[in-house]
Symmetry: C2
Amino acid sequence: MTPISEGQNRAPVMEDVAKLAGVSHQTVSRVLNGNPNVSARTLEKVQGAIVELGYRRNTAARSLVTRRSNTIGVLASEMSQYGPSNTLLALQQAAREADYFVSIAGLAEVTPETIEEAMLRFLDQGVDGIIVQVPHAGIFETLVKLNLDLPVVAIGAAGTSGLSGVAIDQTAGARQAVEYLISLGHQRIGHVAGPAGWVDTQARIGGWRAALDHAGLPEGPLLEGDWSANSGFRLGREIARIGDVTAIFAGNDQMALGLLRAFAEAGISVPGDISVVGFDDWPESEFFLPPLSTVRQDFQELGKRCIQALLAELDGGARDGASVQVVPELVIRGTTAAPH
Amino acid sequence: MTPISEGQNRAPVMEDVAKLAGVSHQTVSRVLNGNPNVSARTLEKVQGAIVELGYRRNTAARSLVTRRSNTIGVLASEMSQYGPSNTLLALQQAAREADYFVSIAGLAEVTPETIEEAMLRFLDQGVDGIIVQVPHAGIFETLVKLNLDLPVVAIGAAGTSGLSGVAIDQTAGARQAVEYLISLGHQRIGHVAGPAGWVDTQARIGGWRAALDHAGLPEGPLLEGDWSANSGFRLGREIARIGDVTAIFAGNDQMALGLLRAFAEAGISVPGDISVVGFDDWPESEFFLPPLSTVRQDFQELGKRCIQALLAELDGGARDGASVQVVPELVIRGTTAAPH
DNA sequence: TACTATGTTGTTAGCGCTAACATTGGCGTG
DNA sequence: CACGCCAATGTTAGCGCTAACAACATAGTA
């Protein structure tokens, strides 16, 4: 097994390969770039020399002249949460398949300033394009205002004016969930939403509302949490006190977990007295008490589509603000039943 | 031949700044690199010109000549899990503070081949150093075998022969947890471990065993899960069937969640009949039924130390295989009580 | 035969930056 | 005042690669 790097000796450069193969360095370059105008004999010689020397092309030199870094910047907030971290993973895999590197910038705090700073860092680094995974409302305007001369794909944003967007259709997902509750016979369906100012929050509220409107049902209580199980717990106690609903659509699985705990403590049976549906389908939701009915999002697909959209802009140069939607899927488990 | 019109679009280069400031490009370079031998007057002129043109230094050109990319590669498996994703976030922040970019490679499958492939990609990219966040046993040997001519810091590995290691002292954490159970009066303490072949599994088993040995207690049952709540649930049922323990130390919080569910279904009260302690302290653990006692790991600190270790190797050139340990903290909540 | 089209290879000129050395001018010293 | 010294600046030569063009051989066409 050849060592990966040549230890003390200077790493071989194209010229070394060329000499060994008895050709010019440009021919080596042609082989490396898959130029068809290379004879089979030469190709073989060059490839042999490359292997023999363990030659690897210098990215910096290549980038300098091509003005391409083969790197995609991913700007992410809430990086350690379930959705974002899974999207990040998928993004990374899709990028690798397309032979791109992924550079990440995690935002601890989301403000126009921190976003701009991160973007400037990406520019400094010379990334070819940027994927923005920041689910805050207003992110879109912030990005447009920066007026970057680079392809940008925003996750969760509708595409307009120069920015492409790829999103999971959370409105449709929320609507599916609520429609399912309605089909079970529920008539008073509340929503424990995420914090205002999140794209996801708005979309999920929208889906909940649309389903109720469509069925001609009145809106149940709309409560605002902060995605945490803690807030779900707090709001669950409030709901238990007020009564008056037979089903709750929770903005995510964590808050649903808080709800379940609050209801259990209040002696309210789930799904006997109240049905609960979450959103996300994180792996543990299956093991809540009872197992949580929820809406599953396909992050893998989301990541793949993002990279596709970005590469399309990179190659085609089209900046048409295309918008792609991935549709989520309702998963029915043990927290939903017909009202009594 | 110089182009006739210097198109507005062309990004300014150092020479443009130099011209505007009335100096040579080298002086601009000196300003940018903080060279002290620049007069105050010149410094000001150059900085003014930089701002006026919105000049940003070209990283590729810089890397080409300095042979530094200012990029750190992070190799991670299980990227979307709680611990790793938090570590990744911390790593990224610490790197940014030191003015380094972070390039990630997420491993879908951990084998010597996938690791080698990812490492080769990092080499191609020209990273200055690599941080490996792959908690599988044997990762260390795999890395050493690759014989990389690059600083590598492995998370969770003890440092020897050319590789530095930074780890959370999970053995100490596990020991703390079990000693606490012993202090409550428990005498039959089982362990639901993670899958064999994980560094973390081994360390936590080690801590559990050490505490029992030290107290002169017999080892309770040792069961192997796979980190998932599902496996915890399965093993919980088994424990419920066998009985014979008054406390379980779970290898992580997810499995603890599964245990809680299994015990609830079996009519076993926690902490009345059995005490449970988890490991990780993920945010939702506080909202389990009852709130989970667990061991908190400081990923922020871990990330910071990793970057420190890597930068030390980068700057000092020392490859001393230093080993740093971060000590975790026991968090006592509602799943632990004295046995009856 | 001459002449063009085509495929294969080599040569040259940078990409934008930093390192190394060269040059200048002002200062203190003998 | 000649001397060296040092701080401030300029000049030159690449880093390793690709793009553009030049150079040639070969084959096909008039």
